[in-house]
């Protein structure tokens, strides 16, 4: 605590934003407890912590989403009480959410000026002015794009910058970025960082929340670490390294975090091929893609966002039609007309966004049993059997809280991901396709998922892991295919490879 006061005085300037002894409860549970935080003018402040550590809660207090909390919030030394997100914006605090709120069917300019379009005297939207202003704003961020283009036609990284420009246009001095790099490729991250540094140098302050410690360490001037609803430390980034941050985050030293920098591949060509994919195209994202998945092996597919991984996974699971090419399952050609057909053939899939396959308001056990209902029930349901199976998974996967009847939406993200996996574990699939299996997860949950996937390999499942994070692929895979613009451009099957090998190939 004294440490922190020293820093304030050392900084010389009064903080732009300050929280003093802030606490917030949800249903009697402290989500945030006695947290003090200060944001200096012109700094990029990294915020890290495991899921549920309290960083989202604090952000929502600052952004005016949570309005009832204990403690004091000050802006430029003046005590304020925000009543809404709009109120926060009026106080020059803007937030760019992890899940972008852009409207894909509107143009870039319309998205920038959402809700505040410039109008002429008659009250009609002044399109010319709007477009030229938008162009100017985006240029300020180093973006040369046509403001008349539809938002949906742009890559996620650009959409994010457009959102950022919307927040900037509204006059925000404090900009909160929630997991801004999770969907970005390395060049996109580099561009974002450039923009952020520019904004900082103009005197704006940025709160940068992320699970990607490398990114936080690379961009932040200072870092605040949260654990269990409390602030652990605020420290200048120069005095920190990844190990130190992790130690603060989890309260224990972890050597495993070095995993994913390199790997020794152990592809074994004597293992039988379960799924052989050759020359498949979907006419848009996949072009002549080949891959072989072997029993008892984890095959990784690495590539930047939009390289075709998402489409590959869906095509193999019967969600997306293939125009060309053949898929052989155990040597027999297959074509799935529906996801149900793929599931019955023994293909399982966990998509990158867990919301896609989970029923938030249904209990955990119904989420687990939905994929195996036809195996445990002929006609009538047997809820006891469902709960029994779910309880076994809860124990195996250490899902918290350990209650099969609780609504899925009340679980943390990592635990939800485990439930998504549990769907496919009762009756082992022949092929398990995992898209971004550990994205956005805290360290503990990540390790659990890695352990589960590896245990499936031991049981002879052919696992396909698709990711835009080289670490994920290197941590898990026995062999790696690099996908680039829908084609398999490089395959690694044995020997030692490094992150740079993957980045170089993609």
């Amino acid at each position: 605590m004294t440490d922190q006061k020293d820093q304030t005085s050392r900084g010389g300037q009064p903080p732009l934003l300050e929280l003093v002894d802030v606490s917030k409860q949800f249903g009697g549970v402290h989500a945030l407890q006695g947290v003090s935080f200060e944001l200096r003018p012109g700094e990029i402040h990294g915020l890290v912590g495991e899921n549920g550590a309290g960083k989202s809660t604090m952000m929502k207090i600052i952004a005016g989403v949570h309005t009832d909390f204990e403690g004091v919030m000050k802006i430029r030394g003046r005590e304020v009480r925000l009543r809404s997100a709009r109120d926060a914006l009026a106080n020059a605090i803007g937030m760019v959410h992890q899940e972008l709120s852009a409207i894909p069917d509107l143009s870039v300019a319309e998205n920038v000026f959402l809700g505040s379009q410039p109008t002429n005297k008659l009250g009609k939207v002044d399109w010319a002015q709007m477009n030229s202003k938008a162009r100017e704003l985006l240029k300020g961020l180093g973006l040369e794009i046509n403001p008349k283009r539809s938002m949906g036609s742009l890559p996620v990284g650009i959409q994010q910058l457009v959102e950022l420009s919307r927040v900037l246009f509204s006059g925000a001095q404090v900009i909160i970025l929630d997991e801004p790099t999770s969907a970005l490729s390395p060049p996109e991250v580099a561009r974002l960082f450039e923009v952020l540094r520019k904004l900082r140098d103009e005197g704006r302050s940025i709160i940068f929340i992320s699970h990607f410690l490398d990114d936080v360490l690379a961009i932040s001037d200072r870092i605040t670490v949260f654990r269990n609803g409390r602030k652990v430390i605020t420290e200048d980034t120069v005095n920190l390294d990844k190990d130190a941050v992790i130690a603060h985050m989890i309260g224990r030293g972890s050597k495993d975090m070095h995993m994913g920098e390199d790997a020794v591949l152990k592809g074994d060509d004597s293992k039988p091929v379960v799924l052989a994919v050759s020359g498949v195209s979907d006419g848009k994202f996949l072009h002549n893609f080949d891959i072989e998945l072997r029993a008892g092996e984890i095959t990784g597919v690495y590539g930047f966002m939009g390289s075709g991984q998402i489409e590959l996974a869906r095509a193999l699971f019967g969600k997306l039609k293939l125009r060309k090419g053949t898929v052989l399952l155990d040597g027999k050609p297959v074509k799935f007309g529906s996801t149900a057909a793929a599931r019955r053939a023994g293909i399982a899939f966990v998509p990158e966004n867990r919301r896609m396959m989970l029923f938030r308001s249904e209990p955990v056990f119904k989420n687990v049993s939905i994929a195996i209902l036809d195996r445990i029930h002929r006609l009538l349901l047997r809820p006891k059997a469902e709960r029994g199976i779910t309880e076994a998974h809860i124990k195996d996967l250490s899902i918290r809280p350990p209650r099969p009847g609780i609504a899925l939406g009340s679980l943390s993200g990592g635990n939800q991901q485990k439930v998504a996996l549990a769907k496919w574990l009762t009756h082992l699939p022949r092929v398990l396709i995992l898209s971004e299996p550990t994205r956005g997860m805290d360290v503990g949950a990540k390790e659990d998922v890695i352990r589960i996937v590896k245990s499936l390999r031991e049981k002879g499942v052919a696992v396909l892991v698709l990711s835009t994070e080289p670490e994920t692929v290197l941590t898990l895979a026995d062999r790696v295919t690099v996908i680039k613009k829908g084609m398999a451009v490089k395959e690694f099957s044995t020997g030692r490879i490094e992150k740079s090998d993957l980045l170089g190939a993609a």
Partner: protein, 356 residues
């Protein structure tokens, strides 16, 4: 840590429970209030006889509403229910010998064949709807609007403005005859008192029980709820969503068809447009009962309450001698109130589940 998690979980559940129960409590509460109100306002309302009246009046609508419950649970809608009921009712009459004075170029066949043909017609309507929705990809709202027109067209062509009066014996029995009577002893004058239970009510109750069992205890029922709860998640879990959607549309069409056959016998005539009010009543019953328009929540229990609320309103307003024009307005207001609760309950639930 685990301690706090459990507390958090319980707190969440209590609130979620309340949010969840709003859609069940509100309709039941409405029903009780209405019954009390009409009992006080009219001396003739609260009697066993009148209770049976209400039940009889809602049986046909009820069978349609049961089919519609399946559809609405998957977050779809079927606007063709009344038209399909009408067309199937007319179809069964079309295949039955009519009296000489009925000027319809019909094709009389044996009674059981006529019934099978009519059921096949209902099935066909359901299949066409299902194909249009799943194979072509037409939204149910528009697809069933088209099927409604088609069914009305077929009705019109079959009867050509005439009225048919004869149906297969089985249909006449189920639609208009008494199944059994419940004796209530004798009155002061020594006359035996009894309450007749019509076959229509028996069929309705059987439909209620079977559909409730299907929705609650079968795998298919679970799929219906899960597809309604989150269609994408169901698909990513390997559920054949198109098959489930097709099945509920066919179930709905067949329910409507059976209601149509019983209906023409109940009315004693088969003619165009005689089911027009049933569409709104059936939808209203499902929604007033609290089944979510967004799918995944509600069920047959809710539909029963919804039917009773509408039945009590329709019947009760007659008992207090209200202007029949005001009656229409009041029904509209009740439907509006139900919609408000329905949507409010949904947003309450979503707020509950979007915690942090």
């Amino acid at each position: 840590m685990s301690q706090t998690e459990v507390i958090a979980a319980k707190g969440f559940n209590a609130k979620g429970f309340l949010a969840e129960q709003l859609r069940n409590i509100a309709p039941a509460f409405t029903l009780v209030v209405l019954v009390i109100f009409f009992s006080v306002a009219s001396p003739t309302f609260l009697s066993l006889d009148n209770g049976m009246n209400i039940l009889r009046q809602m049986s046909i609508t009820g069978i349609i509403a049961i089919g519609l419950t399946f559809v609405i649970l998957t977050a779809e809608i079927d606007l063709s229910v009344a038209a399909v009921a009408n067309a199937v009712g007319i179809t069964v009459a079309y295949f039955t010998i009519q009296p000489d004075y009925v000027n319809i170029a019909n094709m009389p066949v044996q009674g059981w064949i006529a019934i099978i043909l009519a059921l096949a017609a209902a099935l066909l309507f359901g299949l066409v709807t299902a194909l249009g929705m799943t194979y072509v990809g037409i939204p149910s709202f528009i697809m069933t609007l088209a099927v409604m027109q088609i069914a009305n067209g077929i009705s019109a062509m079959l009867v050509r403005g005439q009225i048919a009066y004869q149906y297969p014996d089985l249909i006449t029995t189920l639609g208009s005859k008494t199944a059994f009577t419940i004796p209530l002893g004798v009155d002061e004058a020594g006359k035996a008192l009894f309450i007749p239970i019509g076959w229509t009510i028996v069929v309705f109750v059987i439909f209620l029980i079977v559909s409730h069992l299907v929705l609650t205890y079968t795998r298919f029922g679970r799929y219906v709820y899960m597809v309604g709860g989150n269609r994408e998640a169901a698909e990513y879990s390997g559920v054949n969503v198109k098959l489930v959607i097709s099945a509920v549309m066919v179930i709905c069409a067949v329910c409507s068809g059976i209601a149509g056959m019983l209906g023409v016998a109940y009315f004693g005539s088969a003619q165009q447009n005689q089911f027009d009010t049933f569409l709104l009543d059936a939808i209203a019953a499902v929604v007033v009962g609290g089944t979510s328009l967004f799918g995944g929540r509600g069920g047959i229990g809710n539909t029963i309450i919804g039917l009773l609320v509408l039945g009590v309103v329709n019947n009760g307003l007659d008992h207090i001698q209200m202007d029949s024009f005001q009656k229409i307005l009041i029904r509209g207001l009740i439907l509006l109130a139900a919609l408000v609760i329905n949507v409010y309950a949904q947003s309450l639930r979503e707020r509950q589940s979007s915690k942090d």
